[in-house]
């Protein structure tokens, strides 16, 4: 039993997330520079994002529009007036000596996604990228540091949740839900590896049954779902060990190293910055007009939760299938495309959902977008319809799907060419079953005696004879009929 598992019986974990999302606007948050996608260092800069003396910020209207869309999608209260603050700190990644962020009047307050309440969503600017030259790769003990300002000023939305999460895997799962929502909104690339979605976790533990929050630590910048899960687990284990040993968790900011699983302190509470927040005098307050709200509302696509509800309600999908397809946007899109191309002989939604979520994903890989595969949505729909009409067996259909994945094509043509058509009704199948029983008299006897286990021998025999084109259920039915069971 691992530490985490025993924790669950004595201590409860409390997790809140802070997610930074790079917005996919055309230009930076406060200047006209285009966003950078790996251009040579310091080629996407101007006096504003370099913090040159005298340069002034101007808020990006598109970023505010995206912020409002996010607030609407999360059910937040949208502030009629929103102001920017300066967060003052010295570091080479911050060319002005302060970051323009939001403080006590953020764009969006409150809200909820799934079971997790949203505390707030605010807009700010990203920092520059520091490259530390030298052995350690960290600022301390590096020979030199080079600053690339291409990223500096990229618009960020920071989403802060309430401490409503209770374990690492739920946290990762919820984050996937958030990511799908943001992707559907089209406000961000939400790519964790590339840093357009970054997650910090505030973690504390408390005795089961307690309603007070324990001292929290902040685990910084975990850049994959896997690391988030592992990082939170490691930190919960660390806190649990401290508390078990009679110690006290200290409030600090931590770094998780996914290679070594080590957790190291970045700074303690005493070292915490006094950011000296004050209203940014270079920017006028943002007044959110009814027109802006209307435009944001009009731009909202159907969100994953609503889509899942629709799948359940209108298509009769199981809750699991509905959620899976809705939150894996690309699977949901493929599923709907397939449904839309249903011909006269329709594929049933639930079997189609199963084929997309199971058979297709198993063949393409978990993260692949089926739209980019050889399988046309209409082809899958046709295949599932053929299975429904018993024109091809499950096993036969799997072989057809293999062919479709490999080289595309038309399922009817593949079935015909490969001779995968199901051995039809009892007329065709009955003599084969009869022959199988005759060939295995001992098995027939045991079946007559009420033992059902050996039926597999008969089914196997028939399958061999039909090259897998017979339906297992139908064989069983015929066996029972012929033996008078």
């Amino acid at each position: 039993m691992s530490a985490t598992d025993t924790t669950a019986t004595e201590y409860e974990t409390v997790i809140g997330l802070e997610i930074h999302v790079q917005l996919a606007t055309n230009t930076k948050m406060f200047c006209g520079c285009a966003l950078s996608f790996g251009e040579p260092p310091n080629t996407r800069t101007c006096p504003v994002c370099l913090g040159l003396p005298g340069a002034l910020p101007v808020a990006n209207a598109e970023a505010i529009h995206y912020g409002l869309m996010m607030g609407m999608a999360l059910g937040s209260t949208l502030a009629p007036r929103s102001i920017f603050h300066r967060k003052n700190y010295f570091y080479p990644d911050s060319p002005k000596g302060y970051q323009i962020s939001q403080y006590d009047e953020p764009l969006c307050l409150g809200g909820q996604l799934g079971d997790v309440r949203i505390h707030r969503v605010h807009l700010e600017e990203d920092a520059a990228k520091l490259v530390h030259v030298g052995a350690s790769g960290r600022l301390h003990a590096s020979d030199a540091s080079i600053v690339d300002f291409n990223r500096c000023g990229t618009p960020l939305a920071e989403i802060v949740t309430e401490p409503d999460l209770r374990d690492a895997s739920t946290a990762a799962e919820w984050l996937r839900m958030l990511r799908a929502t943001l992707r559907t909104l089209g406000v961000s690339d939400v790519n964790m590896e590339e840093g357009s979605l970054r997650c910090d976790a505030n973690i504390s533990i408390r005795p089961v049954g307690s309603t007070e929050l324990g001292t929290k630590t902040e685990l910084k910048n975990m850049n994959s779902f896997r690391y988030i899960e592992r990082g939170i687990r490691a930190e919960v284990a660390r806190q649990t060990a401290i508390v078990r040993a009679g110690g006290q968790v200290e409030q600090e900011t931590l770094h998780f190293d996914p290679r070594t699983e080590a957790i190291t302190s970045l700074r303690s509470k005493e070292e915490a910055h006094d950011y000296r927040y004050f209203p940014e005098p270079d920017l006028s307050p943002v007044a959110i007009t009814p027109d802006m709200l209307e435009r944001a509302q009009a731009a909202l696509p159907e969100l994953p939760l609503a889509r899942a509800e629709r799948f359940e309600r209108d298509l009769g999908l199981s809750a699991d299938s509905a959620h899976l397809l809705a939150f894996r946007t690309e699977l949901g899109d493929f599923f709907e495309a397939a449904l839309g191309e249903n011909g006269s002989q329709a594929a049933e939604p639930q079997p189609l959902a199963n084929w997309v979520a199971n058979e297709l994903v198993a063949r393409l890989g978990t993260d692949a977008d089926p739209a980019a595969s050889n399988v046309a949505p209409g082809a899958l729909a046709r295949l599932v319809a053929m299975v429904g009409a018993k024109q091809v067996t499950q096993g036969g259909a799997r072989q057809v799907l293999d062919k479709l994945v490999a080289g595309g094509g038309d399922p009817d043509a593949i079935v015909a060419a490969e001779g995968l058509g199901a051995v039809g009704g009892s007329d065709e199948l009955a003599p084969i079953v009869e022959a199988a029983l005759a060939a295995n008299p001992d098995v027939a006897d045991r079946l007559r005696g009420g033992e059902m286990k050996p039926i597999g021998v008969i089914v196997g025999h028939v399958m061999r004879e039909t090259k897998g084109r017979a339906d297992g259920g139908e064989i069983t039915r015929l066996v029972r009929e012929q033996l008078g069971l």
Binding site: P53, G54, L56, R86, P92, G97, Y277
Partner: protein, 473 residues
């Protein structure tokens, strides 16, 4: 024509437009004077006249412009009077300087100033103090002291300054010229090296009110690079008024008294009499919170400055003192780069914004600011303008106040409340005391520059100030 630099900017522009004056000759005449300046008014002077093609048909007809050091000017030193920007030449030009160049006023020179516009005597400059052309043992005021001395001595036809708490009006008063602090937001701040963002405003320093109107006319305009800038609701016109009939001047009853020199008060009262002779009514007006202006100002301005000056960290431009670790590099660069007054204000401001003190200092100062703005709004329901002496004293001796910052801060007693309220105000010469210039300040409601300039023009005509002693300086 004998001395073309004796012309006002407007007269020179008219002469160029009519073909009577060659703009290159005009530029060269000023260039020679600026290069020969011995008041330490300049930090940089152009080494040649720009091409004059077509300039005669522009509104400002090639009349050259001196610009305070803190305006970013492409390729030209722009250090805001500070060592920390040693060697810095910006890759861009401030919007207002660009706008004026487009209107036909080429860059003649950059002028000395108090470091980051923090000061009232121009003694806080990395380039050393500026001397007052009326008396070289005295200060020209600050922080736009170089611009004021340049215009007063006649080595520049006009100049750009900036005013945060009085930095245009007070040096204008102390050098016997005209200085206009416009309504906050009417002139773009893009490219002005910031002192206190919510207060900084660029304005003209000129020989007369007409020149101030002419220059300001081409400074205004919303700038998409400055989100706090706004469109002036009126076109700025040249003043013509000779009378003040129907005008009411309000003398604040809460803003006189101690600290004002007798000679300064005498000139102020004489000017009120002149105004009455021109048809104005003079009344007392209440500004109950104005007396707290300096206290609020010395919280708000340093607070904003402490943040604005964080970018001077040795990483990207200007001075850097190399060190083995980052923190030492920061601290020694800033220690060596900033002067004493700048450090004092950074510390004041940092303290005022600190967690636990914010509400008691910054929060309260902002509430006082709101009250002062409300006082002025109330006052302007009964008076057209609020008038005061611009500064409580005539120019003081160099070094006489440097050891007492609070004494120095009192220079801005009359100018600061107007800055906090974001209102336009002008200082015009109102005669001499002890042979030294005294300024008269006239402030109006937001966007009332046309009225302010008109009233100042009428007074200027009646006063007939003789500036020759300064010009000779």
């Amino acid at each position: 024509m004998t001395d073309i630099t004796a012309l006002t900017a407007k007269q020179a522009a008219d002469a160029v437009a009519s073909g009577d004056l060659d703009p290159t000759e005009l530029f060269e005449a000023y260039r020679a004077k600026a290069a020969a300046d011995d008041l330490n008014a300049y930090t940089w002077v152009a080494d040649a006249a720009p091409a004059a093609n077509g300039v005669a048909t522009t509104p400002l007809a090639g009349v050259p412009l001196a610009v305070k050091d803190l305006f970013a000017t492409k390729g030209v030193p722009s250090q805001a009077g500070s060592r920390i920007l040693e060697g810095y030449r910006p890759p861009y030009t401030a919007s207002v300087v660009e706008r004026l160049a487009q209107a036909g006023a080429p860059l003649l020179a950059k002028t000395n100033q108090d470091e980051f516009a923090m000061g009232s005597s121009n003694e806080n400059s990395a380039y050393g103090p500026v001397l007052n052309p009326w008396d070289r043992t005295r200060v020209p005021g600050g922080s736009s002291g170089g611009s004021a001395a340049a215009v007063a001595s006649g080595s520049a036809p006009w100049a750009l300054g900036t005013d945060t708490g009085g930095s245009i009006r007070q040096p204008a008063a102390l050098t016997g010229i005209v200085g206009l602090k416009p309504t906050y937001g009417t002139v773009s701040r893009y490219g002005m090296i910031a002192f206190a963002s919510s207060l900084d405003q660029a304005g003209p320093l000129t020989r007369d009110v007409t020149d101030a109107a002419l220059l300001y006319r081409h400074m205004v305009g919303q700038d998409h690079c400055d989100s706090t800038s706004l469109q002036h609701p009126e076109e700025i016109v040249l003043p013509t008024a000779q009378r003040l009939d129907g005008i009411t001047l309000g003398v604040p009853e809460d803003l006189t008294g101690e600290g004002v020199e007798a000679g300064v008060l005498a000139r102020f009262e004489e000017t009120l009499k002149v105004a009455e002779e021109l048809g104005a009514k003079v009344v007392r007006v209440a500004l109950p919170h104005a007396d707290y202006g300096l206290s609020a100002y010395y919280v708000i301005a340093p607070a904003e400055a402490s943040s604005n000056l964080s970018r001077f960290d040795g990483v990207r431009y200007g001075k850097r003192v190399d060190a083995d670790d980052l923190l030492t590099m920061y601290t020694t660069t800033r220690h060596d780069g900033f002067g004493a007054e700048v450090k004092r204000r950074i510390m004041l401001g940092t303290y005022a914004l600190s967690s636990g003190y914010y509400d008691a200092y910054y929060g309260r100062a902002q509430r006082v600011r709101t009250k002062i703005a409300e006082d002025f709004a109330t006052a302007f329901q009964t008076v057209d303008f609020v008038v005061t002496p611009t500064a409580p004293t005539v120019p003081f001796k160099l070094g006489s106040k440097t050891s007492d910052p609070l004494e120095m801060y009192l220079n801005d007693y009359f100018t600061v409340p107007i800055s906090l309220a974001g209102l336009p105000a002008i200082s015009i010469p109102a005669g001499l005391s002890e042979g030294l210039p005294v300024g008269f300040q006239l402030a109006g409601p937001a966007f009332s520059e046309n009225r302010v300039l008109d009233a100042a023009h009428a007074l200027e005509q009646a006063i007939g100030f003789d500036a020759t002693a300064g010009r000779a300086g």
